[in-house]
């Protein structure tokens, strides 16, 4: 008689009904029943001793008062910055601010001179430049993780913080790409977002096994490659205004 796989036995718990074939086998096989009894006994010893200290109904409130003291202070007034320009995202904001300033000035010029809104072409170029920078920053984080040394535990807390900052911006760009029907960009941003989320919410100390798993995840779908390709395409598109201006000067 074939016995049950010990890995399956070790995962059986009284809280879950085992599958019918397993139940049947346990009924018929004394060897597997004895093995299971041993596992159950060990689990019971641990769970009997591991009595979790009680926490009362007010515990949630106590935690909130501890946590809220450490949260960043809210802004004194509600200037409606896009979320990716929130004060705590200054690193990314540095680049994006320049882009927005350019948009603002372009907008003033347009309004003053022609009283018409920004043309879709200008809007697109602004977005293209900002998105291209975003992809560059994201690629830098992925490259650092891909090249992290393999000996011993690696501290990725700085990459983690940067990934966390990039996630919200990525989400905005993905939504914009999806709204404008740019499916290729939207799909790449979606894959990138998953990896960034994994990094942001994963452990900050990675064992060689964790690091290998993360690298596999990055390599599996060629995320880094796709980010670079899209970034390079965008950079080409972003250079167009400059070229056009140069050509106009020449003529």
């Amino acid at each position: 008689m074939n016995h049950l796989d010990e890995r399956d036995l070790a995962c059986l718990t009284p809280k879950e009904e085992p599958a019918a074939p397993v139940r049947e086998h346990l009924r018929a096989c004394a060897v597997c029943r004895a093995r299971l009894d041993e596992i159950v006994k060990i689990v019971r010893i641990v769970s009997d001793v591991e009595s979790v200290p009680a926490r009362g109904d007010s515990y949630g409130g106590q935690v909130w008062s501890r946590v809220s003291r450490q949260l960043p202070a809210r802004r004194p007034f509600a200037f409606p910055w896009p979320t990716f320009l929130a004060p705590r995202r200054l690193a990314f904001a540095g680049v994006s601010l320049l882009v927005l300033a350019a948009t603002f000035l372009a907008g003033r010029f347009w309004r003053a001179e022609r009283s018409t809104p920004l043309s879709p072409a200008v809007k697109e170029r602004v977005l293209v430049v900002a998105l291209s920078d975003h992809l560059e920053h994201s690629a830098a984080v992925l490259i650092e993780l891909a090249n992290a040394p393999e000996n011993g535990t690696v501290d990725v807390s700085s990459e983690q913080a940067r990934a966390n900052d990039l996630v919200a911006a990525n989400r905005l760009y993905r939504q914009t790409a999806s709204q404008t029907g740019d499916r290729a960009v939207s799909a790449v941003l979606e894959e990138l977002e998953r990896v960034l989320l994994d990094v942001a919410h994963g452990p900050s100390q990675l064992t060689p096994a964790d690091l290998a798993a993360l690298r596999r995840r990055i390599e599996e779908k060629g995320v880094l490659f796709k980010v670079r390709v899209i970034g390079s395409n965008l950079r080409e598109r972003g250079e167009l205004p400059g070229r056009e201006a140069r050509e106009r000067k020449r003529t």
Binding site: A78, N164, L172
Partner: protein, 187 residues
């Protein structure tokens, strides 16, 4: 471009985050205590979990369950604590050094001194056996056998395949069986 947020939206976010903290604190503490085995570390994990969650709150996908998301963060924070402990060579405190009395787990209301001594011995042995598991083994064992989480859920939290989860739980059970064999044969 979307993403404009008013103060009202921020306040609504803060209020909803507070409600989520209050709702999930006890669950996070229970998990953190089971993972770390001591109250001080568990309280640190609770705090760190919600601070981390707050930092990533805007990136949280509203379609997912907040409980599952926060659970994953709590497991990772606990793993970080266990790793820090190991890398600093800190021996985890034993159950009898905490304010929690393992005797409370014994059903008798008036334990005689021999029972108390025996229960204390069991508590120390279990704490020591658990501390010999790797962070991942401890997480897999706790999630499966103490928290009753399905294999697929554990795979999702630990970011490994279901077969790897089974293998990890199996290794944990084997180690515990070896460590706790003397108690198993007595009880």
């Amino acid at each position: 471009m979307g993403g404009m947020r008013s103060l009202e939206a921020e306040e609504a976010d803060a209020a909803s985050f507070r409600a989520l903290v209050e709702e999930h604190s006890r669950m996070v503490f229970r998990l953190a205590w089971r993972m770390t085995g001591n109250v001080e570390d568990a309280e640190d994990v609770v705090q760190e979990t919600f601070l981390k969650a707050h930092r990533g709150y805007e990136s949280f996908d509203a379609r997912a369950r907040f409980g599952t998301w926060i659970y994953r963060i709590a497991v990772n924070c606990s793993i970080d604590v266990l790793r820090r402990r190991r890398s600093h060579g800190v021996t985890p405190r034993r159950a009898d050094e905490e304010k929690i009395d393992p005797v409370e787990a014994i059903p008798s209301s008036e334990p005689v001194p021999e029972q108390r001594a025996f229960a204390g011995e069991i508590g120390r042995s279990v704490a020591s056996a658990l501390s010999r598991l790797s962070e991942r083994e401890r997480a897999a064992f706790v999630l499966r056998h103490l928290e009753g989480m399905p294999i697929e859920g554990i795979a999702d939290v630990l970011k490994i395949g279901p077969n790897a989860v089974k293998q990890t739980v199996f290794r944990a059970v084997q180690k515990l069986r070896r460590e706790l064999a003397p108690i198993g044969s007595v009880s």
